[in-house]
Each structure stands twice: as structure tokens, then as C-alpha cells.
């Protein structure tokens, strides 16, 4: 029996009210007409085409899209690590001209400095910003305990598990008080159990810290569970397909995964990211290699 779902556009009154409030908040990051063209041996390839969006204060934005849609290029441009072919990114009205402390970033690969302990890693940005060692250490301690790594503050990164490394990386990025926190598939390398824990952790941290987050993922559930809005990109060229306002009320809980607003959003995302006309059966010619009965079909 097919389950009838509401439209993902239907918002409960408290959700709608929340979005109204969110849009009233000041804009932290503004992206205008972003193009990125790479030169290749087969001529120029357009990676991103006309990307526009705004990120409000304390907003959580997920970016999702099929592989090759330019998600990583987008976030690297936002961080100032790559220069757009045209268009611009501004943070608090200031155009981003290169990487800096305004936009913190958490990478998928573990980028903790292996020669520094967890605490020293967290102190890194603070000391560069000119804080005294004592002040930096005191602040770093707070951030380390916020991500639950007090017992490991003097451990080196290679003594930590993958999840602990990413928690330390988040602490390191947040300790710098960035205006925007950019996260490039930060939990992509973790196992499912750890990943679920990290998602809850991140929401808890974000609730307590004044920071706007752009979160890249290819995991649909992760995107819905975490985000206020989801920016869906499509590939070739990378364009904004849709900007979805997630109708799932906050505070989020894993129990919401089976509720109608969540499922409706998920269905919409499925449709956008895995269009039905390109199903597996049509793309792959698999010949039959078994003579066992049909009980698997």
C-alpha cells in the first residue's frame, strides 16, 4: 500500500515561523554569480555556473549533489582557497580575497597537525591571532572539553580514532571564532555508527555556538537531519537545482527520520539526485549468470 506523503513544501506553523525569523537575521555570507571554469586538454570545463545564495546568521546550510557537481570546488572557493572565474563571495559584506580566519574549515581528510597535541592544535589559530600563550591555552582547554576530548588533550593526532580527530578539528576551527564554518564532507571517512554520533554532536555544538555552517555531504539523511536549508546542485555544469527549506522542526532527533516531513524531503532529494530515467537497469547491461530459482526477485 503506497504511503501518501505531504509535499516537502508544506511547513508546519512553527517551522514557517522559524524560517521567517531566520530570514530576518543579518546575512553572514553572500554568494553572487559564481562561475568556475577549469582549463583541460579537451577545452574548458565549466565546474560551477551561476551560483547564488545567502547564508544568514546561525543558519545551517547543507550542499548536496551528485558526484562531479562541483561541491568541493564550491566550498574551496567559499574558503578563499580557490579563485572563482567570475562572481564573488563576501562575508559580512567583505569580499573574500583569499583564505583567512573568517572562514574556518573542516576537511574530510584529517588535517590536524601531526606534530602538535590536540590542545596545541586547537591553540594554533589563537596564537596566530596574537593571543598570549596562557590565554590561548585556557581557551583551547574549553574548546577541547566542549568536544569531549579533555582526556586526550595531550595526545598526538595519530593516537586518536577518526571520530576523535574530526572532533578535534571542529574544536580547532571553532576556537578561532570564524564567522562561517565550512565543512567539506567531514564525516565521509567515518563508519556509520561514529558518523551518526558525530552528527548529533555537531548539532549540539552548533546550538551553543554563534556560527553559520555550510556543510557539504553526499548523504541525503545527513543533509536533512542537520540543515535548515539544502542547496541541491546538479552536475555538468554545476548549477543550483533547488534550494529546499527543510520542513522538519527543530530540535532534531533521530526519531524524526521516519516522520512525514523528513520522508517527503528525502523523496524530493532522491528525485533530484537520482533521476528515475537513469536507473541502474538501463545503464548496466548485466547478463544472467545464475540458474538458481527466482526467489530473490
Amino acid at each position: 500500500m503506497p504511503i501518501t506523503l505531504p509535499s516537502y513544501r508544506e511547513q508546519a506553523p512553527e517551522v514557517k515561523e522559524r524560517f521567517d525569523r531566520l530570514k530576518q537575521r543579518p546575512v553572514k555570507m553572500e554568494v553572487r554569480g559564481l562561475y568556475k571554469v577549469f582549463g583541460s586538454t579537451d577545452g574548458p570545463v565549466t565546474a560551477l555556473q551561476g551560483i547564488d545564495f545567502t547564508l544568514h546568521r546561525r543558519e545551517f546550510l547543507s550542499v548536496i549533489g551528485p558526484s562531479g557537481c562541483g561541491k568541493s570546488t564550491l566550498i574551496r572557493i567559499l574558503a578563499g582557497l580557490e579563485i572563482p572565474t567570475s562572481g564573488e563571495v563576501s562575508v559580512d559584506g567583505q569580499v573574500v580575497r583569499g583564505p583567512g580566519a573568517d572562514c574556518g574549515m573542516v576537511f574530510q581528510s584529517y588535517t590536524l597537525f601531526p606534530w602538535l597535541t590536540v590542545k596545541q592544535n586547537v591553540m594554533f589559530g589563537l596564537k596566530i591571532a596574537g593571543n598570549s600563550s596562557n590565554k590561548a591555552e585556557a581557551e583551547a582547554r574549553e574548546w577541547v572539553s566542549l568536544v569531549g576530548l579533555e582526556r586526550f588533550e595531550n595526545s598526538y593526532p595519530n593516537q586518536l580514532s577518526g571520530g576523535m580527530k574530526q572532533r578535534a578539528a571542529i574544536a580547532r576551527a571553532l576556537a578561532n571564532r570564524p564567522k562561517v564554518l565550512l565543512m567539506d564532507e567531514p564525516f565521509g571517512a567515518l563508519d556509520a555508527q561514529t558518523r551518526a554520533n558525530m552528527q548529533s554532536y555537531l548539532l549540539e555544538i552548533w546550538r551553543n555556538v554563534d556560527v553559520s555552517i555550510v556543510f557539504i555531504t553526499h548523504d541525503l539523511d545527513e543533509a536533512i537531519y542537520l540543515a535548515d536549508r539544502i542547496l541541491v546542485l546538479k552536475a555538468n555544469p554545476g548549477e543550483v537545482e533547488e534550494l529546499i527549506e527543510v520542513p522538519v522542526p527543530r530540535p532534531r532527533a533521530t526519531s524524526q527520520f521516519l516522520e512525514p516531513p523528513f520522508l517527503a524531503t528525502r523523496k524530493r532529494l532522491e528525485a533530484l539526485i537520482h533521476p528515475p530515467e537513469k536507473s541502474l537497469k538501463q545503464r548496466l547491461k548485466i547478463s544472467r549468470m545464475t540458474e538458481v530459482g527466482d526467489d530473490v526477485e
Partner: protein, 441 residues
């Protein structure tokens, strides 16, 4: 509990620590064992004869003295020649031929026959080293040998030589005590050359090498010539001066080349070209510029290591994970901080390993450096003693150089744990087999 052991031949699997240590010990024990085998088992490979009794050949200007090495064939011919000479002498004894030489000359050559056993007597402990030409004592030893009282422990006379000795003694014993004037005026037979199988001089026996190693390095300075310890100190100073100078300029330049494309493009092409010119080709030039003493030697080691160092360090620096730099940038680090706080600490462990390898190169260039200008240091010693074929003195020095290099590397490998505590604990130190092996057990 039964242990599941890794079989001896397992592709890309580590053996147990005990086995690894055992094999590491064997890797030293095997060559040393082979050396002992070749040296101490006469049936294996002894192409030479080392003389302990020599003789004079008439009409030949080549003189062999005890201690000399002869090829086996040559030795046989040598013995045969002396035998034939002795047959001639027996003709005088039988009166078939008249002695034409003046008695003075005959007595002189008989005195030399008497002295034939000089070294032989020393080897057996009957004489002190400086008594080899003490004819009175030698005479008493002849008596002892002829009457069977002395037999010899270390070296013994062959039956043939005993007979010759006794036949001579029949002439000599009339003297009662030695006097040069009373030597018989008729020629005596020479003892035949005697020796034992030996390896060529370039392969001294292990125990000789160990003994001369001890002698060389326990030598106290006498003010006359340099002791080996002084030479070692000199060589170490040259190696480390050259190498430190190289590091002083090469390290920062290498890191800069690995960090900034500007420096890389500006320096690396020329450095890459220059390193293909082997350092020794500059030796005469360096002597012309820096004089003949220490400076050109240090400069040669510098030339030999500097250019390699720049390229190797630049490459190591480029291998640093880019994402670490990007992470640092998003934390607000700019140029100076990126270099000092990220690149330098990030590449340090690998640079340290590179330097260990380059230090090995410095030792290689030392051998050439010490031969340019005024020869000096360990190499001069090796060169001189090698020319005199004193290989039992050369070997200890060569082995010492090897040991110092090996020990330095081990020490640096050991220090690495303390300098870079964040490097994974399981890191395999090159050749640090013994400690590593036992810890694993």
C-alpha cells in the same frame, strides 16, 4: 598456548622479533665466519707460502726474508735451487772440488748460514727479537737442535732440514764456543726454505686485524707523527665541518625551494645541472682557491653534499600534505607563519632522515677530500700503509670508518624517537634490529 609462527618464507610478512634478531646477527656472523674459514683452514684457499726460513740463491739479486709471501710454484723452484746448491757444496766436502774463494769470504757466508735460523728461533721463543744476529746464542741453538734438545713449538724444522743441520753441525761443533774466526773455511750447506701455507697479504687474518686495531688505537701521542686517534679526530672534524656548512645553507634553501615556486625555478635548474659534476673534479681548483690544508677538504665535502641536499630537501618539502597548509590558512596563517609553523615542523622528521643519508655521502667524499692538497687524516694513513702492503694496518682503519658511520646512524635513529615523539610508535628504524627485536618478544 601453541604459537602460530610465521613461516620462514612468507611473502611480505615480518618474522618474529627473535628470528629477526637472529638473522640480523647472522648477517654479520656469516661474512666474518667466511673470513675466519678462509684464514684459518689451510685446505680452503692458501695460494701462497709465508717463509719462516729463507735462503740465498747464487746469482739472483732478489732476496726473500722470513715473513715474505711466495706463490706455491715459485716456492717449490726456490727449494729446488737451494737443494742443487747444496749438492755442489757436498762435492767440496767429498774433496771432489777445490774451494777457490778466499777463506774470509767462505766464513762470512757460513756466518749467514748460521743466522738462517734467527727469525725461526725468535718465533719459537728461544731468542728475543733484537738477538737475531747474536751468533753466540745462535750457535748454542744450533747445538740444541743438532743434539735433539730443542725441537720447536711454533715452527719445526723439516726432516730434510734437520739432516742438513746435523751435517753442518759436524763441521761446526769443533769450535766448542762461537768465534767468527774459527768458523770452518769450507762452505756449509744452506737450510732449505721453509714456510707454511698462507693467504695473500691483502687478506690478513682476523685476529691480526683485531690486534693491530688495538695497537693502533691505544697508541699514545709521542710528538712524532700523528697517532690514529688524532687522525680520527681530524677526519671527524673535516666531515662534520663540511656537512654542517652544507646544512647551514642547504637546509634553508631546500625548504625555500620546496615552499616557493619562485626559489624553486630560480635555483633548482642550475643546482640540478651542477650536481652532475662529480665533486672530485673540483679538487685542484679548490686547492688553488683555498690553499692546501683543511679548507679545500671541507669545501670538497660541501660541494659533494650541498647540491644534492638542496634538491632532496626541496623534494621532501614539496611532499608535505597540501591540506595541512590549507587548514592552516583557514586558521588565519599567512606567509611567515605557514613556513615557520607548518612547513618547517611538518617536514622535519623526513628532512632528518634525508640528512642521515646525506651524512653517509659526506663520509664518501672525505676519502677524496683527504687526498687533495696536503694528505691528511685517516685516508693518508690508509694510503701510505696500503702502498707498503701493510693491509693488517689498513683493515682496522677501514672497519673503524664503517663502525663510526654505522654507530652515528644508529644514534640518530635512536634520537629520532625523542625528537619527533608524534611519529607513529611502530615506525621501523632502519637497522635498529636488536632493540626492536627484543621489544617485540
Amino acid at each position: 598456548m601453541p604459537k602460530n609462527k610465521v613461516p620462514w618464507f612468507a611473502v611480505r610478512q615480518d618474522l618474529s622479533g627473535r628470528r629477526q634478531s637472529l638473522l640480523a646477527l647472522l648477517s654479520f656472523a656469516l661474512p666474518i665466519g667466511l673470513w675466519c674459514l678462509v684464514s684459518y683452514v689451510p685446505s680452503i684457499w692458501h695460494p701462497d707460502v709465508r717463509l719462516h726460513i729463507s735462503a740465498e740463491r747464487e746469482g739472483s739479486s732478489t732476496v726473500y726474508t722470513p715473513g715474505n709471501h711466495l706463490g706455491k710454484d715459485h716456492f717449490q723452484r726456490f727449494v729446488q735451487t737451494i737443494r742443487e746448491q747444496n749438492l755442489e757444496i757436498q762435492r767440496y766436502w767429498r774433496g771432489e772440488q777445490e774451494v777457490t774463494e778466499p777463506p774470509r769470504m767462505v766464513r762470512r757466508s757460513n756466518q749467514r748460514v748460521l743466522r738462517q735460523i734467527g727469525r725461526f728461533a725468535v718465533a719459537n721463543g728461544w731468542l728475543e727479537r733484537d738477538e737475531r744476529q747474536d751468533d753466540e746464542k745462535l750457535f748454542e741453538i744450533w747445538r740444541g737442535l743438532a743434539e735433539g734438545e730443542l725441537r720447536g713449538r711454533e715452527q719445526r724444522l723439516t726432516e730434510e732440514n734437520l739432516e742438513i743441520l746435523r751435517a753442518n753441525w759436524a763441521w761446526l761443533e769443533e769450535m766448542e764456543t762461537f768465534s767468527a774466526a774459527a768458523l770452518p773455511a769450507i762452505p756449509l750447506q744452506q737450510l732449505l726454505p721453509q714456510g707454511r701455507p698462507a693467504n695473500p697479504v691483502f687478506l690478513p687474518n682476523p685476529h691480526d686485524v683485531v690486534l693491530s686495531w688495538w695497537d693502533l688505537f691505544s697508541e699514545e701521542p709521542t710528538g712524532e707523527g700523528k697517532t690514529l686517534r688524532e687522525r680520527l679526530g681530524y677526519s671527524l672534524r673535516i666531515v662534520f665541518s663540511g656537512f654542517l656548512l652544507s646544512c647551514l645553507i642547504g637546509l634553508p634553501l631546500g625548504v625555500l625551494c620546496g615552499t616557493y615556486n619562485l626559489f624553486s625555478r630560480l635555483f633548482e635548474p642550475f643546482v640540478d645541472f651542477f650536481r652532475y659534476m662529480p665533486a672530485p673534479v673540483f679538487s685542484t681548483l679548490l686547492v688553488a682557491i683555498f690553499g692546501a690544508h683543511d679548507a679545500p677538504k671541507i669545501a670538497l665535502i660541501f660541494v659533494g653534499t650541498f647540491f644534492q641536499m638542496v634538491l632532496v630537501i626541496a623534494k621532501t618539502t614539496r611532499l608535505l600534505d597540501r591540506s595541512l597548509l590549507e587548514a592552516a590558512q583557514t586558521l588565519g596563517a599567512k606567509n611567515r607563519h605557514l613556513v615557520l609553523k607548518v612547513i618547517v615542523p611538518g617536514v622535519m622528521p623526513n628532512v632528518y632522515n634525508d640528512l642521515r643519508i646525506l651524512l653517509g655521502w659526506a663520509w664518501t667524499w672525505l676519502v677524496i677530500a683527504e687526498l687533495i692538497g696536503v694528505k691528511a687524516g685517516l685516508t693518508e694513513f690508509i694510503e701510505t700503509q696500503g702502498r707498503w702492503r701493510n693491509f693488517d694496518l689498513v683493515f682496522p682503519v677501514i672497519i673503524t670508518i664503517g663502525l663510526i658511520g654505522f654507530a652515528t646512524d644508529q644514534l640518530l635513529a635512536f634520537l629520532r624517537r625523542f625528537l619527533f615523539p608524534w611519529e607513529p610508535k611502530g615506525y621501523r628504524l632502519s637497522l635498529n634490529w636488536l632493540t626492536e627485536g627484543h621489544r617485540k618478544e
